[in-house]
Structures are given as C-alpha cells and as structure tokens.
Subunit: 430 residues, 2 copies
Amino acid sequence: MPPVQNARGTRDLLPAAMHARLAVIGTVREVFARYGFEPLETPAFERIETLMGKYGDEGEKLVFRILERGEGGREGKADLALRYDLTVPLARVIAQNPALPMPFKRYQIQPVWRADRPQKGRFREFYQCDADIVGVNSRVADAECLAVVHDALSRLGFPAFQIKLNHRKLLSAIVAAAGAAEFEGSVLTAIDKLDKVAWEAAFAPLAENGPGEVALTRLRAILSQPHDLEAVAAAVGDGAQAPAEELRAVLAHAAALGAKNVVFDATLARGLGYYTGPVFEAVITDGGVGSVAGGGRYDGLVGMFSGRSVPAVGVSLGLERLLVVMEERGMLVTGGTRTRALVTRFSADLDPQALGLAAELRAAGLDVETWLGEPGALGKQFKYADSRGVPFAIVLGPDEAAAGLVALKDLKTGEQRRMTRGELVEALRG
Amino acid sequence: MPPVQNARGTRDLLPAAMHARLAVIGTVREVFARYGFEPLETPAFERIETLMGKYGDEGEKLVFRILERGEGGREGKADLALRYDLTVPLARVIAQNPALPMPFKRYQIQPVWRADRPQKGRFREFYQCDADIVGVNSRVADAECLAVVHDALSRLGFPAFQIKLNHRKLLSAIVAAAGAAEFEGSVLTAIDKLDKVAWEAAFAPLAENGPGEVALTRLRAILSQPHDLEAVAAAVGDGAQAPAEELRAVLAHAAALGAKNVVFDATLARGLGYYTGPVFEAVITDGGVGSVAGGGRYDGLVGMFSGRSVPAVGVSLGLERLLVVMEERGMLVTGGTRTRALVTRFSADLDPQALGLAAELRAAGLDVETWLGEPGALGKQFKYADSRGVPFAIVLGPDEAAAGLVALKDLKTGEQRRMTRGELVEALRG
C-alpha cells in the first residue's frame, strides 16, 4: 500500500486546531457584523479568464488551474482556476449584480489557494478574512476599517497594538517634494523598509540608479518626524494639503469610533500601485510580531470588470498569522473539546437510563458524550474521557439508579460525589 | 469588455442566502457538538491518487483535476484533485493519525466539487455536512446517528418527519430467503424504488433477466408488512436473527436518546455495497420532499488507506436540500441583514457625536451601521436603510444633541420618538 499523504503545502485541521479557529473566526465575524458588514461567499474556482492578468506574472504562476472535463482535459486544457484572493471575486460579484444597494459592505472569510513554495507556517491553502466597503468615497468608511481592526484585535485579547496610517497620495507628494518623482517606485520600496532597517541599509539598493544624494537628503529631512502629520505636511508644502486633510478626517473619525491607538506613519508604504488613498497596517507592539492586519482605499480595482471606477476601501485580517501568534502566547482556548462530560455506561441493563440521562443533559443545552465501547469497566471509560480532554464523567450505577441520583466525577481531581439530576445540570454548567 | 460570469454550475452566496446558511450551519454544528462530535476540516484538494479508484468510473469522471505547476502542467499533467466527498478525506486522516483516540467522532461541514451536469438546484460546488463515529462497532453509536438527525430536524423547525431504518444484512437475508440471492443487486435496486412506485413498476426491469416469478412472489410476501420488524424477521427465518437483533437494539437506544420517530422499513435499501450494517434515511413527511439526511454503518471504507478494517457509522445531512425546502416553506429568517439600525448623519459638525453613538451601541452588543454617504438629507438615509432591510434609523440632530437625547425611527411604521441613550439600547434590543 503506497504511503498516504495530504497534498504538499496543505494540512488537516484536527479538532484542537478547529476549536481555536472557529472561536477566532466567530469573534471576527461578530466584529464585522457590528459594523453592518454582510457575509458573502464565492465559489472556490472561477473561469480562468477571470483570474488571469490580475496578479502580475509572478502571481499568475501561483494560480492553481483546473483541467477541462472531457476532451479538452485530455489535451491538457484548463478552463477554471482556484480563487487566489477574495478581491477579484468581489469585483466580479459587483459587476454581475448591478442592483446591489451601495454602499455594499461585505465580509468574506474563505480559503484561497496559491502554489507558493511551502515553508514553516506558510501553506498553499489558507484563509483570508476581508471586509470591504464598496461604492462610497468617504473618510468615515476609511475610519470604520481602522475601528474594525481595533475592535477585532481588542476582542481577540491583544493588550498592545498600533494601527499605522498613511496616505498613498501623501507618499507621492513626499517623494515629489524631495525631487525624486521619477524614482517613486524604488524610493517607496526603500521607505517601506524603514520600520525594519536603518536608513542607510534601506536606501543602499538605490545608490547605483536612484534619485541622487541631494534628493535623498531632502527626503530624509521630510521624514525626520515620521509620526508628526503636521510637520511632514509643512515640509512637503502644497502637494500634501489634500491628503493631509483626508488623514486628519480619518484620524478624527477613527477616534470618535473608539479606535484611539491609530498613529500616523509617513514611512508606511504598504505595496505599490494598488492603493489610491489612505493605507493602514496593524502591528502587535509587544514582541517581534509583524503586521497582522492591513488595508486601505483602492478605487481602481473593484470596477475592473465593469469598466467604471468604483470607490472601495477594505481591511484584511491575517487570520493564519493571528492564530499562530495567539497559539504561541497561550491566548487560545486550550483543551481539544467543548464536551463537558462523558456519560459512562455501567451495564447493558442500565443503558436506557444512561442514554436517557444523556438526552436530558443535551436538552438542557449541555454538550455530553456517551461511552461507545462495551459497558462496564469504568476505569477505561474515565481514561478515555480524560484523554479527550473531557473534564467530567457521570456514573449511573445500580445504587445511584435506586436512589434516583447520579455520581459526578471530576477527572482532574478524582473527586466523585452523588447528586440529583438538577444539581448535575448546575454543576456541569458551572 | 467580455461578459463577466461565475464558473458554470457555481453560484455566489449573497448576504441574504448567507444569513440563512450560517444560521442552519450553526444549528447543525450545535447539534453535532451536543453529542461530542468534534470539528474537522481537510484541504480542498488531495493528491490525485488519493481520490482515484474510490468512486467508480462514473464518479471518477466527475472529479475536478488540477494541473501540475511548472513543466508538468504545460504538458497537461494533473497531480491534484478537488475533494469529491468528505469520507475519503476522513479515511486518509484516520490513516495518517494513528494516535487519534478511538472512537474518533468528527463532524465536517465543507464544500465538495463534482463536475456533474448543472441543473436547477444542483450545483458543481455544494456543502456536505457529515458526522461519523470511527473505531467502534456499537449499536449505541448507530442510535446516536439517528438521534442527531432527529435533533437537527427538530431544531431546524420541521414539525413532521420520519427516520426510516433498515439493515444491509437483513436485506441480504430477505433476498436470499426469497431465493433471489444471485440477483441481489438488481432486486435491491427494485426494492429501493418501492417508496415511489408500485411493486409492478419497480420490478418491471427484472422481467427479462431476474429471479423469476416464484422468487418474486416469495419476496413480496416477506415484504408485505415492511414496517413490522418481527413479521419480516419471522418470514425470513434464521438469516434474519442477527440483523434483527441489532435493529431492535438500535431502535431501543434511539428511543432512549429521544429519537422517537424512527420506523423500521424493510424496503429501505440506500445504495449498494457501501454499507455493512444498519442504514437509515430521514424524510419530511408533509409534502413531497424526498430524503434530507441519511447514513449507516460502513465498516470497510475508513480503513481503505491503512489496510485494516475500521468500523464506522455516519450521518450526512443534506444541507443544500434542507436550505431549499426551508426557503420554500418560509422557515428561514428573512430580511437580508442582522443590522438593527442605521445611525444617520445629520451634518458634518455632528459627526463626532453620531460616530460616538454608533461606537456606544456596538459596545453594548448591537449591530449598527453608520450612513457613509454625505451627511444631511435624512430621507435618502432612511430609504437606504429600508432597502437594506434595516428596521430602525437613529437621528442625532442639533435639537437632540442639545437635549442629550436621540430619536429612533421605526422604518416600517414611520413612527419616530425621542429617548435617552439608555432607552435606545433597550429599544434596539427588544
């Protein structure tokens, strides 16, 4: 028999991992719903022409393509491809549903697939967790995305995080004011590195073919107070006024919405080309955790299929990264089960009473499991429950049955005590 | 610009559909958890050799195959395939995780993909919703599957349903007792039709090449009381004793677990070959709805990758079918949103108060949306909220702000009244 394996770069989510994931997804879903974002799901695969030409040459290589059924497939033709992100499907949905009321606020929590080289913690199937506001160009909408990130990270239990905010057009104005407009792409790439490396290291790649020393000195002067919006705007001059005014509005609205840990950061670049307005990124500030959420305004992308410009702003929570960090920090509910108790089976003739007790507890809203091996041999049953992480076992033997009682055993302490069924429900709820 | 379409046989799940689906999945998940089933998810695709040879020639044609990345893909080679069901992945997980404590009770709610001819209500991507108990051969386990179906259909709100129960080995004994053993396959296919057509129509295909009139007359006599287990067992004789005894135990355990609408049905065949013990199927009894759930014991399948026999029993809920039926019957929560209120924006200078109010309501656990168009023009804001199905709008104008009050407008009745923020929270919770 050949060895059995899951596909390369994929993993099974066994119960312990699933409990943590369902809890985190549930929290994020609640936060999205708090703001009026509505759930959306799109199919796992799209027509291949829907995805091709959207992700650049490098991205395109990572798209999983599906063979045609029948003749075409035998000739190696592909007509479908697995979802690579959740943004292109959103753009398709918007184009196909012109009657959707705008703004359309949707969230989407689904896996995407990329044929990336698998690495520790990087998989070929992973969940994305996006919320976007489509159809309005509003600073309140931008601020809501920041507030959503704030609420999500707070409710997940992170005590210390910051949401960095910048503006794509302010970045352009900064680069232009320094006299480096024709090198914008490479300059922004360098600026984006400033949170990790020193100025010299970040700009070293530009020594050969870059804007030259005069422009870089001007740039460094403008960015000398990267968290002071007014100082940066003053240093840049006219070109900064419009984006700075937008950022002031986003900051004010975000504060009103309760997201008070938003900081302006002139060195936040967050990708190139894609964004058209405010951009942001959330970082956990205690410990060397990188970005766990990000987003911004991108007014060109959602209209790609309809040929019109559709304003859009969105946030993407790094679900897989959050799960890894929360696991490392012990922030996830541990124990692999939500089952509260194992209803043991003392003997076959008492099965009707044991099963009836299980049904009664379930009707009271408790999650209980029934022993499914042979009845008797309680030690084995306790051991099984403990190995499953189930905290309690319930015994209904002939003595208990005669007295109209049940015995509850705490599998951690070993303590066992008799009680009525009503007391049992209370004890298990505790 | 070419027309934009989703892939053939797939659909987008827009918010209204998603709310219904999330509610139904939530209920089913709760029921599974009540019995100690644990969540599991497996990757969307498997190595192609994992899936091939498992579904027969007809099934194999429906498997979506994924091109290799790089050179092999250019030559049309496929190395991966999309999940066709949730049972083969379960069998792989069991083989790959020999340390899983047994019984392993898992549920799995994920889409599967089949390149079937798309039809009304039949899609190429659809959710399966399976719960299986692996590793024990127990009548209590079989009964739990019936109880899970009972609880799920009850909690989803179906007032009238029946769970039909039979036994694969009793069926074989029936056919053998009639003297038709060598035609078992085609006889079972005919028996399985008896819930839809008359005896003559069901057995017409066997006129040419079948067990002959004597055997068929004997068969009809045995099946003359299809819901009376004792009568059928007596008519069959010795061969029926073991499976009949198992069915008596399943019926008794199911009743103890509270599943009281289980009926023996000697004509339930439910597929061929796959099952090895008790089989069952749930039907909604008011109206012409077919099967909405089914399952049974299949002791040969889960061990397919490990080469050992692993007992297993499982239930599959027809999620897509349930959603269609519930939609038709108005059993689903209507209204496309869970958003309770739109916080309108009266003017830009009152934005901080409006956004602060929204934040306050969210902190109180209420789902509220903020108007994201230009502030002012309340009529337009009310209209938008109403078009979204949001029941209330909240107005915070200069008068309300001065009085420390807010106005709540019921968008159905048009009634508007002023209240304190505390009263507002209560009114929205109502």
